[in-house]
């Protein structure tokens, strides 16, 4: 097996697990948000998103298997919150939405957009297309919820918590050197960004999409910016 194929198989297997976890989170959030914001379109979007993520789990697992790596998914997965315990339910829901949608789903859309702009294998392209159609909505529903909460509730508490979200999102190796056997062309064909491109897309999305978005709705992006500068300097 080539290094690109092996790395891509691992990446798609990882994505399958990420999508499974996202489905659980959106199911939970749909119920919680509906409890305090009955007029919001977000809960219905979250329920559809959970179904999307279950479908994405299958797509990613199938692709990983076709690349040579079978995926062992949790047969009885449970939702585990990432919000600080000190937050009440409404604030915890906002924390989860911002971390999952405004940050991670927005980054995923940037990755998908980048991958769809290059030449990929047909089987991979089909999966990227299918997933990107849904991920647009998954990111938007996060910004929709944050914008509603910025009007109705207090959202500034999130600013100092953004570094924790980033620390839990960023791969340990993002700021390090690429693997010695990395095959950038091969990875791109199989739907995976080589490390340098991944770093460029990730940081560009934070600086030009996520941080300005947070600021627009009253969340101070500076703690996140400072954390990011420190993390990058430590590489």
């Amino acid at each position: 097996m080539t290094s690109a194929r092996r790395a891509a198989a691992e990446a798609w297997a990882f994505r399958a697990r990420v999508e499974q976890e996202a489905a659980l989170r959106f199911d939970w959030l749909a119920g919680v948000v509906a409890g305090f914001d009955a007029g919001s379109p977000v809960p219905a979007m979250m329920r559809r998103a959970a179904d999307d993520e279950r479908r994405h789990t299958e797509l990613c697992a199938t692709l990983a298997a076709s690349l040579g790596q079978s995926v062992a998914l949790d047969g009885d997965p449970k939702f585990v919150s990432i919000a600080p315990r000190s937050l009440d339910e409404r604030k915890a829901a906002l924390y989860e939405v911002v971390a999952a949608c405004c940050l991670t789903e927005t980054e995923s859309m940037a990755t998908l957009t980048t991958l769809l702009a290059v030449e990929t294998d047909p089987e991979v392209r089909e999966v990227l297309h299918a997933i990107s159609r849904d991920e647009v909505v998954h990111s938007r529903m996060g910004w929709a919820h944050l914008s509603r909460e910025s009007v109705a509730a207090e959202v500034a508490f999130l600013g100092p918590l953004v570094p924790g979200m980033l620390a839990g999102t960023i791969d340990e190796g993002l700021f390090g050197p690429p693997p010695t056997d990395e095959d950038p062309e091969g990875l791109l064909r199989l739907g995976v960004l080589p490390l340098q491109k991944k770093r460029e897309v990730f940081l560009g999305t934070l600086e030009q999409v996520v941080f300005p978005g947070l600021e627009r709705f009253g969340v101070d992006p500076e703690p996140g910016r400072r954390w990011l500068a420190q993390a990058a300097a430590q590489r």
Partner: protein, 52 residues
């Protein structure tokens, strides 16, 4: 990568979606409402969500 376009489609597009429906309101009861006992990280600063 057209970050400006992503900002418009995702951030501004999301805000439009959020504003299109009825207004939400603060609920005093939410202040006392806690997440499930098994929810929340042990880390007081919270965690993040892995993505692609």
């Amino acid at each position: 990568m057209q970050f400006k376009k992503l900002f418009q489609v995702l951030v501004l597009g999301g805000a439009v979606l959020g504003a299109a429906a009825g207004c939400t309101q603060a609920n005093a009861a939410d202040k006392d409402k806690k997440p499930p006992a098994d929810a929340g990280t042990t880390d007081s600063s919270g965690g993040g969500v892995k993505g692609w």
